[in-house]
C-alpha cells in the first residue's frame, strides 16, 4: 500500500482576501452591495459634501465678540476677506439671558434654576416609586446640578442653604421612607409657583391648606353621608376656603411673620423659562383631567360619555393657535364682566385643556391595552368602580402609557412656541422678534433660529430617547 500523505497538523487559517475583510468588506457590504446602493451612496455623499461645503466657511468665520451686526460683518471681512460670510454669535452672547429667562431679573435667576432642578426631584418618586438606590442617585444628581448652576448664576447664600437643606432632607427621607417622597411631589407645584412668581411664603401654604381642608372634610363626612356626597362637601368646603378665608388668613399670617422673596410679574417671563412653565404646568394639570376624560369616554353612562367625546373631539379638531387666540381674545367674554387675569394664566388654562384632550386619548389607549381579565378580576374581588380603577386598572394603564405621555409632552413643548402669536415672549419667535427689532442687531436671522433650534433639539431628543428606553424597559415587564 502506498503510503498516502497525511497532514498531521492543521494549517493556520489564511487571512480572508482583501475584499472580504476590514474597511473594504464593510464598505462592500454596507455601501456598495448593489447598483442601487452604489447610486444611493454616491447621492448621499454628494449631499453631505454640498451641505458641508456651503456652510463650513460660515461656521468657521464665527464672531463671538462684537457690539452690533455691522461690527460683526466688519470683523468677518477683515478676517476672511471681502465678501466672506460668517456667523455672528455675538448676538447670542448679548441676548442669551433673554433667550433662556426672558426679562426675568438676572439677580433672581437662581429661582427658576432651583425650580427646574427640583422638578426632577419631584418627578423621581413617580418614576422610581420606592426604589431607594435610584431615588438617591437622582437626588444626588439634582443636588450637584443645582450647586453648579447656582454658583454660575451667582445665587445668594440663602439659595445654597435652601438647596442643601432641602435635598439632604429628601435624601434622608428616601433612605428611611422612600414611599413618602411622593408628598414632595404633591407639594412641589406650590413650591414651584412660589419660587417663580415670588411674594409671601404664606400664599402657597394657605392655598395648599385648601386641599387639606378638602381632604379633612371628605374623611370626616364620608362615614356619615357616603363617598360621593362627602367628596362634594369637601369640594364646597375647599371652594369656600379659597374664596373667603384665603385672603384674610394670608394677610394675617403675613403681618405676623413677613417672610417673602421679591415678587416677579409674569410679563417678565420669557424664553425657555416661559416654554417650560407652560409646557410642564399644562401637562401636569392636564393629567388628572385627561384621566377623568378617558374614563368618561370608556364609561357606560351615555351623557358622561357624550360630553367626554364631545370635549375631546372638539379640542383635537381645532388648531392650537385658535385655542390660543381664544385665550387672548375670547376668554374674557365667557367670564363674569370685569374679571381679568393674566395672559400667561389664560394661555396655561387653554393649553391644559388642549393637552388634556390628547392625554385622554393616550390613556384610553393604555386602558384598551389591558387584558379584559384585569377588569374581570377586579370585579370578582368585589371592588367598586373607583377602587378597581385606583388599585388595579389605572396603575397598569398609566404605566403602559408613560412613553406616549412623554411624546405628548414633547409635542406640547414644541407647540409652546405658538404663544408668540398672542404677544408672549417665546424663545423662537418672541425673543427673536425683539432681538431683530434691536437697532444693533437689525438684519440678523440665522443665528437666533439656529441657537433656539439646537436647544429645542437637545431637550426633545433627550426626552424621546428616554421615552424609548422606558418603552423597552416596560415591554420586558409585560411579556
Amino acid at each position: 500500500m502506498a503510503q498516502g500523505f497525511t497532514r498531521t497538523e492543521i494549517l493556520p487559517a489564511l487571512p480572508p482576501p482583501i475584499t472580504e475583510r476590514g474597511a473594504v468588506k464593510w464598505m462592500r457590504e454596507n455601501l456598495f452591495s448593489t447598483p442601487l446602493n452604489i447610486v444611493l451612496t454616491v447621492l448621499g455623499a454628494l449631499f453631505v459634501y454640498w451641505i458641508v461645503a456651503s456652510s463650513l466657511p460660515w461656521w468657521l468665520n464665527s464672531v463671538w465678540n462684537a457690539e452690533s451686526l455691522s461690527q460683526c460683518r466688519e470683523i468677518v471681512q477683515a478676517k476672511a476677506g471681502e465678501g466672506a460670510t460668517g456667523a455672528c454669535w455675538a448676538s447670542i452672547r448679548v441676548w442669551w439671558g433673554a433667550f433662556l429667562f426672558g426679562f426675568y431679573p438676572p439677580a433672581e435667576w437662581w429661582r427658576p434654576i432651583l425650580a427646574f432642578g427640583l422638578l426632577f426631584a419631584a418627578l423621581a418618586p413617580v418614576l422610581y416609586a420606592g426604589q431607594r438606590g435610584n431615588l438617591t442617585l437622582v437626588l444626588g444628581v439634582v443636588a450637584a446640578f443645582l450647586l453648579v448652576t447656582l454658583y454660575l448664576s451667582q445665587a445668594p447664600t440663602s439659595a445654597f442653604v435652601m438647596v442643601v437643606v432641602l435635598v439632604a432632607g429628601l435624601i434622608a427621607l428616601a433612605q428611611v421612607l422612600p414611599g413618602k417622597l411622593l408628598w414632595f411631589t404633591l407639594v412641589y407645584p406650590a413650591l414651584c409657583f412660589w419660587l417663580l412668581w415670588g411674594g409671601s411664603i404664606w400664599s402657597p401654604i394657605v392655598a395648599m391648606a385648601g386641599f387639606a381642608v378638602l381632604y379633612a372634610v371628605f374623611r370626616l363626612t364620608s362615614p356619615l353621608i357616603g363617598l360621593a356626597p362627602a367628596a362634594g362637601a369637601g369640594i364646597v368646603a375647599a371652594a369656600l376656603w379659597w374664596l373667603y378665608l384665603d385672603v384674610p388668613l394670608l394677610s394675617a399670617l403675613h403681618s405676623m411673620l413677613p417672610l417673602e422673596i421679591r415678587s416677579i410679574n409674569s410679563d417678565q417671563f420669557g424664553g425657555f423659562l416661559l416654554a417650560t412653565v407652560i409646557g410642564v404646568t399644562g401637562i401636569s394639570f392636564s393629567l388628572p383631567i385627561g384621566i377623568l376624560l378617558a374614563l368618561g369616554r370608556q364609561s357606560d353612562m351615555l351623557i358622561v360619555k357624550t360630553l367626554s367625546v364631545g370635549f375631546i373631539e372638539f379640542v383635537r379638531g381645532v388648531p392650537l393657535i385658535t385655542l390660543l387666540f381664544t385665550a387672548s381674545l375670547l376668554l374674557q367674554y365667557f367670564l363674569p364682566p370685569g374679571t381679568n387675569f393674566d395672559i400667561i394664566l389664560r394661555v396655561i388654562i387653554l393649553v391644559t385643556f388642549f393637552a388634556a384632550a390628547y392625554l385622554a386619548e393616550v390613556i384610553r389607549g393604555g386602558l384598551a391595552a389591558l387584558p379584559r381579565g384585569q377588569y374581570e378580576a377586579a370585579d370578582a374581588l368585589g371592588l367598586d368602580y373607583w377602587r378597581a380603577q385606583r388599585l388595579i386598572i389605572l396603575p397598569q394603564a398609566l404605566k403602559v402609557s408613560i412613553p406616549a405621555i412623554v411624546s405628548t409632552f414633547i409635542g406640547l413643548f414644541k407647540d409652546t412656541t405658538l404663544v408668540s402669536f398672542v404677544g408672549l415672549m417665546d424663545p423662537l419667535r418672541g425673543v427673536t422678534t425683539i432681538l431683530r427689532a434691536d437697532i444693533n442687531w437689525k438684519g440678523i436671522y440665522w443665528e437666533p433660529y439656529i441657537f433656539v433650534g439646537a436647544i429645542f433639539f437637545l431637550i426633545c431628543f433627550g426626552m424621546s430617547r428616554y421615552s424609548m428606553y422606558l418603552e423597552r424597559k416596560l415591554k420586558t415587564d409585560h411579556r
Partner: protein, 425 residues
Amino acid sequence: MTMATDAPKDGFRLSMLVYDTRYRSYTIQIVVLVLFALAVAWLLNNTVQNLAARGKEFNFGFLWQRAGYDIGQQLIPYNNDDNHFRALLIGLLNTIVVAIFGCIFATILGVIIGVLRLSKNWLVSRLMTIYVEMFRNVPLLLWILLSYVILSEVTPQPRDFRVTDEMVAAGEEPAASMMLFDTVAVTNRGTNIPSALFERGLGKLDLGFVSLNLDFWAILAVLAASVFINLRIIRSARATQEATGVRPVTWWKSILVLFVPVIALIVAMGFHLDIPTLQGFNFQGGILVAHSFTALLIALTLYTAAFIAEIVRAGIQAISRGQSEAAFALGLRPNRTMNLIILPQALRVIIPPLISQYLNLTKNTSLGIAVSYLDLRGTLGGITLNQTGRELECMLLMMLIYLSISLMISAVMNMYNNSVQLKAR
C-alpha cells in the same frame, strides 16, 4: 346553615338613588347634565352681559360688508370690493390647497424615507435617521420660518433675469435664467409657472355669487366620464375572465378611453401655455406661486414626512418574515406577495396613525400666520377680525370650520380604514 332568601323587596327609597347600582348611574348622569347645563348657562349669561357692556351684538352681518383688502393668492377671483364672506372662502381654499398638497407630498416623501431608513446602506440609513430626528425634535414653526428665509434669500431677484441691450452687446449672460425650457422662473418673490389658456374657451357661467369656469368643469366632466367608462371595461373584462378563464387584453382600450377624449377636448378649445415673461417690476402672465405658500408647504411636508417615515418603518417591521415566506411557499410571485400579503397587513398598521398625521398637518396649516400666508386664519381670523372687531363671531366661525374639516377628514379616512381592517375577530 343559611337559608336562601329572596332579595328584600323594599319599596323605592331616596337613598337608593345613591347606593343602588341600578339607579346610581342615572343619578350621576342627571347631576352631570344639570352641572353642564348650569355651566353653559353661566357662560352664555356672561357672554351676553359682556357683549352688552361693550356695546356689541352677536351677528354675522359683517360678513356681507365690503372687505376692502387684497389677498395675494386667490384660487377663485376676488378683489377688495368683494365682501368678507368671499375673503373667508379664499382663505378656506388656501388652507385646503396647502393641506391637500402637503398630505400628498408628505406621504410620498415619508414612504421613501421610511423605506430608506431600513435600507442596508449604512450612509443612507444614517442620513435618514438624522433627517427624521432633526425634524421631529425641533418645532415646526422654526422650519416654516427657516424655509421662508431660505427661499427669499437664496433665490434671485426678478431684475437679475433682465437682459439689457448693453449685456447683449457685451455678450454677458443675465445673473439668473428661467428653468424648464424657459417656462418657470423662480424669483425671491415666488415661483412663476405657466398657466393654461384656451383660445376658444367656453367662457364663464355666472351663477350669482359664484362664477363657474366652464373650461375647467368641462375637462373635469370628460375625465370623470372616461374613468367611469374605463371601470366598465375592466369590470366586463373581469366578468369574461370569470366566465371563460381568459382575460381579454384591456390596456390599449383603457389608454384610449382615458386620454384621447381629454386631449381632444383640450386641443379643440385651443390650448396653449401662458408663459411668464419679465415685464416692468415682475414677471407677468402665468401663475405666481408666492413663497409664503411654498415655504409653508415645504416645511409642513418635511416635518410631517419625518413622522410618516416612522409610521411606515414601524408598519413594515410589524409584518413578520413568516408572512412573506409563507407566501413564497404558496408559489406567489414577489410582486403578488407584496400586493396580496405584505401591503394589506402593513396598511392596517400604518393607516390609523397616518390619519392622525393628516389631521395634524391640516391643523398645522394655521401656522401660516408665521409667514403671513393668508389662509382661513389669515383672512377670517386675521384681517377680517382686525378690521371689523368681531372677535367672538370670527373666532367661533373659524373654529367651527376647522372642526368640520377635521371631522370630515377623519370620517373619510375611517371609512377607508374600515375597508382595509380585518373583518373577522
